[in-house]
């Protein structure tokens, strides 16, 4: 849902703001500013967010797919665009409480890539919660380097939960033990942990779930989905407000199913094509001058009341 203009979002009876949905299907954006209001998420454009006087008592930020180390034609310097994204974060009118990074921090899981990512992201000066993407687990120890660096307080392959400002956050890992012919995968151990973790939460607690690969099926031909994601979502149906934040597909896409709102964030490194519009989901090379309209971050505002979570996608340029 996109808040665009003075009158705010308009929702169809099924809760989907069609205009906003279509806007979110476009490419431009550096980021997603999430605001949680009355338990449902909504996205607004970066320009509006910067201009809005916005009584937003609590904001957090999503950043994704930095791919530090990527240097191919689609973006010869992924470090530079990550730096730009962090610089953008520092100009936000209200400082986000923290940042979540939805994976693919590095391109090849090299120490130097993680070091550089940490140094650049650290410039934002706010806490960061990470979940891994498949690019973060291709070290010799298949994920040992990631866990040593980011998983100290996590369970299993790096999943965890925490509470802040009345919201329960769950970081999930769906990029390990992938099966031939399959999609993203959570696995039985993590699902059992999730079920147990959510059991203690009241149905009125807003829930924010984040993971690298979309938890809903976006485009199975390109592997854009999670094979046991539906099982995880079944544990979330009883809650009044659920926001699912993902990365991996390097473009903004969202939908609402009942009280569950799904949203994917842009990459800070390179865009990928819309489903089925190219021979493969590989990095999309765009004309010079267009790249920064297709990269970005997202902020989320949480306001207790009768409004949905407000998500703002913010392109690096625009």
């Amino acid at each position: 849902m996109t808040i665009d203009g003075d009158d705010g979002p308009r929702f169809d009876p099924d809760g989907i703001d069609r205009r906003g949905f279509l806007e979110c299907m476009t490419w431009a954006g550096t980021g997603l500013l999430w605001s949680v209001a009355a338990g449902l998420p909504a996205a607004i454009g970066m320009r509006q967010a910067l201009a809005a006087p916005a009584a937003t008592p609590f904001t957090f930020l999503q950043i994704s797919d930095s791919h530090v180390g990527f240097d191919k034609p689609a973006n010869p310097d992924a470090r530079a665009t990550l730096r730009e994204a962090i610089a953008k974060i520092k100009t936000l009118p209200s400082k986000p409480a923290f940042m979540i990074h939805t994976g693919d921090i590095s391109h090849l899981s090299k120490d130097k890539e993680f070091d550089d990512a940490d140094q650049i992201i650290g410039e934002a000066g706010i806490p960061v919660f990470y979940v891994p993407g498949e690019h973060d687990l291709i070290d010799e120890g298949t994920g040992a380097a990631y866990l040593a660096r980011y998983g100290k307080n996590a369970k299993g392959a790096g999943w965890f939960s925490f509470d802040q400002n009345g919201i329960h956050y769950v970081g999930l890992v769906n990029v390990v033990n992938l099966k031939a012919g399959g999609l993203g995968n959570l696995g039985d151990e993590q699902l059992a942990w999730l079920k147990d973790d959510l059991a203690g939460q009241s149905a009125s607690t807003p829930i924010v779930v984040f993971a690298h690969i979309p938890l809903w099926t976006v485009y199975p031909d390109w592997g854009w989905g999670t094979s046991d994601g539906a099982e995880a979502l079944s544990y979330l149906r009883r809650f009044g407000s659920v926001t699912v934040l993902n990365g991996h597909i390097h473009q903004v896409m969202q939908k609402v199913e009942g009280a569950i709102a799904f949203h994917t964030a842009r990459s800070t490194a390179f865009p990928q094509p819309a489903p089925g519009t190219a021979p493969s989901p590989g990095p999309q090379k765009v004309p010079a001058g267009e790249l920064r309209k297709l990269l970005g971050i997202a902020t989320v505002d949480f306001v207790r009341g009768s409004e949905p979570l407000a998500i703002i996608d913010r392109p690096l340029d625009g």
């Binding site: 191919k72 034609p73 689609a74 391109h107 090849l108 899981s109 498949e134 690019h135 291709i138 992938l178 099966k179 031939a180 012919g181 399959g182 999609l183 199975p220 031909d221 390109w222 592997g223 021979p279 493969s280 989901p281 590989g282 990095p283």
Partner: protein, 120 residues
């Protein structure tokens, strides 16, 4: 044992003959297969293996080459072989000694699947 000179001349003649002969007519004796195994390349392009299905005789070395801008891996679910992550241009080779059907996939993008069938 023939004189050294004549042996050397024979070798030269054989080499010349081999160079001039079209490959179609070269007979490779069974014993030579081990010494000079078949090499076959599977290209990794556009998030797929090409060819996705390949049949080779035993002893063939299959090489996967990644031509994508994104790393891929080549993994046998039966744990017969497993490559390191292959960045752009990287290669991984495995020699199939035993007949059988070997399925494999990309451990990073598991929708990418392929099969090597080894048959006499």
């Amino acid at each position: 044992m023939p004189p050294i000179q004549s042996d050397s001349a024979l070798t030269r003649r054989a080499a010349l003959l081999a160079a001039l002969m079209p490959p179609l007519f070269i007979h490779i004796p069974a014993a030579a297969e081990d010494a000079a195994p078949n090499v076959t390349v599977i290209r990794i392009e556009n998030f797929s293996f090409t060819p996705a299905g390949l049949t080779v005789p035993p002893g063939t070395t299959v090489t996967w080459q990644n031509n994508d801008d994104i790393p891929h891996t080549v993994v046998s679910p039966q744990k017969v072989f497993r490559s390191k992550p292959l960045d752009t241009g990287d290669r991984f080779s495995f020699t199939f000694a035993e007949p059988g059907v070997y399925s494999y996939f990309c451990g990073l993008h598991p929708h990418m699947v392929g099969t090597v069938t080894v048959a006499r």
